[in-house]
């Protein structure tokens, strides 16, 4: 909802006479003030606080001056409002008094709602901070990320091509402008201190304008910076400026050595600006369009676009589609079948699946809130039925139905408001824990992630509090107010009304059981998935393995010869180091991999680019498998003879062999890597056929699909040299203690070369586990809370009904019913609710599990042990919850029961 709408909505808090008089003027004032704050760069937060304070001060004042102590003669409208207010105050007083008198009910109800509201708020804050709020720039809702795609491959995003960008930019008619972004990481070697790798981007010069974010110091990039002969310049981020330039305002003009090129700093961006994701250095994207063949040149991802005012996303997409169709006709060899997709920037960048997962979790926590509300509704229903006589008397004496409903609602509102206040505390706790988890790797986070309680979260709290008080109050209120006055007053036993209330509360219990079942199954699946993941028996060394990354700038390492020489020297130096058992260099790491690409099997024909199969492709030096203690299963390992002049060879993993050569041995077959898989690799070898000489174990985990194993191809580094690679070192001692030695060795070979992403193999595994573990923990909390609430609910309803039926039970016992009969009588009711709830719950669980399959590892969405286990847990808990009241029913003394009334 827009700020204006929120404000208009809040005007309903004012008395009618005031509102009707000034509503329009106030809305206009708000609109202009909002605009003015935006233009003068004021913080929206502070403005929201200002408005909230204004409301808090003037709403009571307006009620005082317009209703309670009105200027002069009051009309009927004011009199009505005065009555309304009087009633409201009375209802709230009455509700508070009632709740204080029954602290048991109040505490249970408030606990339930504060848990429900707290968890929902915490989850909403996460969704809000990650997806909903968007980028912290002006009018972020108009910012789109555009990526190249091939429709037949679904949602996959491809790196865009610079010529397509140029044509899109020139021909589009629906955007203010487009900007190209090409993310990279650069080597930075300062005059003093260690060289370092920094996240950077090459961007078109208009990007800062498009984001409406001017630099804090100096200037942004200009079109003239993009010219080929222009001196190299860079704009740097605030953190970079503080950490590496000492926050010196005169740092403009400093020359940094970036990837070996002396580059002048011309601007510093404001704090918390790290567009597109977590970048700290921006350089102009220089392209010689004429000399670069179409389809080559720097890869672009994403293209940033700002929709013009009043242009919808569909119109923007249609505009881009039109141009891509034209390009497909003009350049069939590069553009046939290619389209672009665009979407709101944040959602495109974090991925629709992640966004969908977050919304699934928000939906799931909504179920917890519903369970909590159902609980409160049940408590209030029970009480309403006890009070049915009182209500009937009041109705008979002239209380209107609305008054009775109002009174009941006041009760649920008081509970919800207290619950919300505590709930915000609960949420704050949850947010703290979640942020703590995020902080384990803060530099990798997208810069707009800011999870906390902000005005929109507070608005959300207000909305769900209203929802919760209605949901838990309306049913009891309507039931209570709809009581047949005559029936209740005539019949002095607990009559028909309580039976009807009983059915409603049974339905609520069924719902609670169903929702908890769904949540617990989800939690169970995730916990099992995390357990599976942490118990993977990796086919390689995970202890005492150190990894780090180097990137060789093209200025210092122009050809394969120089790169290979560096890698060879590096390996030799590493192996000579005391404490090193083995060392190697590769473009990929076990588990997280490196790159992937398309390839062809010899003898197969493929129609289009998209028909070629895909696999992880890594270049490895000859000691790779022995360094990580993995044995080649069949055939042979690479040797020193597999060099640039030797026969081109490949090793594939077991998954590859089983997928592509199910009938025969993969050994001896030949594969060819597609040219598009060779980015940054020597193109002269693009049509080489590699003969498969060995089969390796599966070392990968595809983190996108979260499936093991994935198919992989290894090529000798000497036959497919790369400009960046990981070092893998197996050490005698703790792996991370080797970090300093690694840095020293690299800098002894090249003082300008930084190392980055230094991890032990154990850390790499841990990071992946933590990520998925968090989902498990969150769902376990959801499920646990829901289970707790459902158990309390079932127990409450049954014990209430036992109380209600004391008379009946007494009669039965008097007529000869045994304790076993009584237990059966009570438990049959509980059992039926439980069974229906479980059936519905299992159905819901299937749906929820399907949505979660993205983060399930080696667990089917219909895993029988998890489903079975949860059903048993719920059944046992439910039966205990109904057995206790049943047992109490057997102790009914018929003489007492019959006399009671």
């Amino acid at each position: 909802m827009s700020a204006q709408r929120w404000f208009r909505f809040s005007l309903w808090l004012y008395p009618r006479s005031f509102r009707e008089r000034y509503e329009r003027d106030m809305a206009a004032a708000f609109r202009e003030e909002w605009k003015w704050e935006g233009e003068s760069g004021g913080s929206r937060w502070r403005f929201a606080v200002h408005i909230a304070r204004d409301l808090a001060v003037t709403v009571p004042r307006a009620w005082w001056t317009y209703v309670i102590r009105p200027p002069r003669r009051v009309g009927p409208a004011v009199r009505r409002e005065r009555q309304l207010m009087h009633n409201l105050v009375k209802d709230v007083q009455y509700a508070v008094r009632g709740l204080v008198r029954k602290p048991g009910l109040a505490i249970t109800a408030v606990t339930a709602l504060s848990l429900g509201i707290g968890l929902t708020t915490a989850m909403f804050s996460i969704v809000n901070g990650v997806v909903l709020r968007g980028l912290p720039v002006e009018e972020p809702q108009d910012l789109m990320a555009i990526a190249r795609t091939n429709p037949s491959r679904g949602t996959n995003r491809l790196i865009g091509r610079i010529h397509d960008f140029q044509d899109l930019r020139e021909r589009q008619t629906t955007f203010e402008d487009l900007a190209a972004i090409s993310m990279d990481a650069v080597n930075l070697s300062p005059v003093v201190g260690e060289p370092e790798i920094i996240n950077a981007a090459r961007v078109s010069a208009n990007m800062f304008d498009l984001l409406r974010t001017p630099p804090l110091l100096g200037r942004g990039l200009m079109a003239s910076d993009e010219e080929l002969g222009a001196p190299p310049v860079a704009v740097v981020g605030h953190r970079f400026w503080e950490e590496r330039l000492d926050g010196d305002p005169t740092a403009l003009g400093v020359v940094l050595r970036i990837d070996g090129t002396p580059t002048t700093v011309v601007g510093v961006m404001p704090e918390d600006f790290e567009f597109p994701v977590n970048q700290q250095v921006w350089r102009p994207l220089k392209v010689d369009y004429l000399a670069t063949p179409r389809g080559e040149g720097p890869g672009v991802y994403p293209i940033l676009g700002r929709l013009e005012d009043g242009v919808s996303m569909a119109q923007g997409q249609a505009d881009l589609d039109r141009i891509m169709t034209q390009l497909g006709q003009e350049y069939p060899e590069t553009n046939e079948g290619m389209t672009v997709v665009m979407g709101p920037y944040v959602r495109e960048i974090i991925g629709y699946q992640t966004a969908a997962l977050l919304f699934t979790m928000l939906g799931a926590v909504g179920l917890v809130l519903l369970v909590a509300c159902a609980n409160v509704a049940n408590l209030l229903l029970a009480r309403a039925s006890l009070r049915s006589k009182e209500v009937a008397v009041r109705t008979a004496m002239g209380a209107s139905r609305r008054r009775v409903i109002g009174q009941m609602l006041a009760e649920s509102t008081v509970i919800a408001v207290v619950g919300a206040v505590i709930g915000v505390g609960v949420a704050q706790l949850g947010i703290g824990l979640f942020n703590g988890f995020l902080q384990t790797n803060p530099q990798a986070l997208p810069f707009w992630f800011a999870i906390g309680i902000d005005p929109s979260v507070l608005m959300f709290v207000v909305a769900i509090t209203i929802g919760a008080s209605l949901f838990s109050g309306v049913l009891p209120a309507i039931r209570a107010s709809g009581t047949d006055v005559n029936a209740v007053l005539k019949d002095d036993s607990r009559g028909s009304s309580s039976l009807r209330i009983g059915r409603l509360s049974r339905i609520l219990v069924v719902m609670e059981v169903a929702f908890s079942c769904a949540l617990l199954v989800a939690a169970g699946l995730l916990v099992k998935s995390v357990t599976n993941f942490s118990n993977i028996d990796f086919d390689f060394a995970t202890e005492n393995v150190f990894t780090t990354f180097v990137s060789l700038p093209v200025t210092d390492y122009p050809d394969n010869e120089s790169r290979l020489r560096f890698y060879r020297n590096l390996t030799e130096r590493l192996e000579a180091e005391p404490g090193v058992l083995a060392a190697t260099v590769a473009t990929e790491l076990p588990i997280i991999g490196g790159g992937n690409g398309r390839f062809a099997l010899e003898g197969e024909t493929y129609l289009g680019d998209r028909d070629y199969p895909n696999a992880r492709i890594g270049s490895i030096a000859s000691g790779y498998f022995s360094t990580i203690i993995a044995n080649v299963l069949e055939g042979r390992d690479f040797t020193a003879a597999d060099n640039a002049d030797g026969l081109p060879v490949a090793i594939v993993n077991r998954a590859f062999a089983e997928r592509h050569y199910p009938e025969e041995s993969a050994l001896g077959n030949r594969i060819q890597l597609r040219a598009t898989s060779q980015r940054g690799i020597d193109r002269s070898r693009a049509d080489t056929w590699y003969t498969i000489v060995g089969i390796a174990p599966d070392l990968y985990l595809d983190l996108d699909a979260f499936v093991l194993p994935e198919t992989a191809i290894y090529i000798p580094l000497a036959q497919r040299p790369a400009s960046a690679a990981s070092m893998i070192v197996r050490t005698q001692g703790a792996a991370l203690e080797f970090t300093d030695d690694a840095r020293r060795i690299v800098s002894s070979l090249d003082p300008h070369l930084p190392i980055s992403q230094s991890f032990s193999m154990g850390q790499i595994i841990d990071q992946t586990q933590t990520f998925f573990g968090v989902f498990g923990i969150i769902f376990t909390v959801f499920g646990g809370v829901a289970l707790f609430l459902a158990t309390v609910g079932l127990y409450g309803v049954l014990s209430f009904s036992v109380n209600q039926r004391t008379h009946e039970v007494g009669l039965r016992v008097a007529l000869g019913a045994t304790p076993a009969n009584v237990v059966r009588l009570v438990m049959r009711q509980g059992f039926t609710q439980l069974a229906i709830g479980l059936v519905i719950g299992v159905g819901m669980a299937f749906g929820l599990a399907r949505m979660l399959s993205l983060v399930l590892y080696d667990v089917g969405a219909a895993d029988p042990t998890v489903f079975g286990g949860i059903i048993v847990v719920l059944a046992v808990t439910g039966l205990i919850a109904s057995f206790v009241p049943a047992l109490r029913a057997t102790r009914v003394d018929p003489t007492v029961a019959m006399r009671a009334e």
């Binding site: 004012y14 000034y22 003027d25 106030m26 200002h50 004042r61």
Partner: protein, 115 residues
């Protein structure tokens, strides 16, 4: 409206009221324009939110220090219809007296070198 005796203000003149009255000295204004001028003149010291603004204007009108311009006022093209206000005679009198009192206070403060 202006049945109060004029010599005495029927309402304690707070700084916000005083500023609002001052903005009307040059002629009629609409509410938001008044709030803007108050913010500028008070150098951000008094920021009237929409609620405070219209509650204050309501109070001032109620006691007869200002009044709504009947039938709105000249509208700039494309501008929404809104309420315009002008000072009443009693309003002007109260404003003058308040200003005189304040200027005496300021003179005293200057003499004591407080400002």
């Amino acid at each position: 409206m202006s049945d109060s005796d004029g010599a005495k203000s029927p309402l304690r003149i707070t700084p916000a009221f005083f500023y609002l009255l001052l903005t009307l000295v040059d002629g009629e204004r609409h509410g938001y324009a008044m709030a803007q001028e108050v913010r500028e003149r008070s150098e951000g010291g008094i920021k009237l939110g929409p609620g405070s603004l219209y509650w204050s204007l309501g109070r001032l009108a109620e006691v007869g220090l200002i009044e709504e311009v009947p039938g709105g006022s000249t509208l700039a093209p494309g501008e929404e219809r809104r309420r315009y206000y002008q000072l009443t005679e009693p309003g002007r009198a109260v404003l003058k007296r308040e200003a005189e009192t304040l200027s005496k206070v300021v003179k005293f403060a200057r003499a004591k070198r407080v400002v």
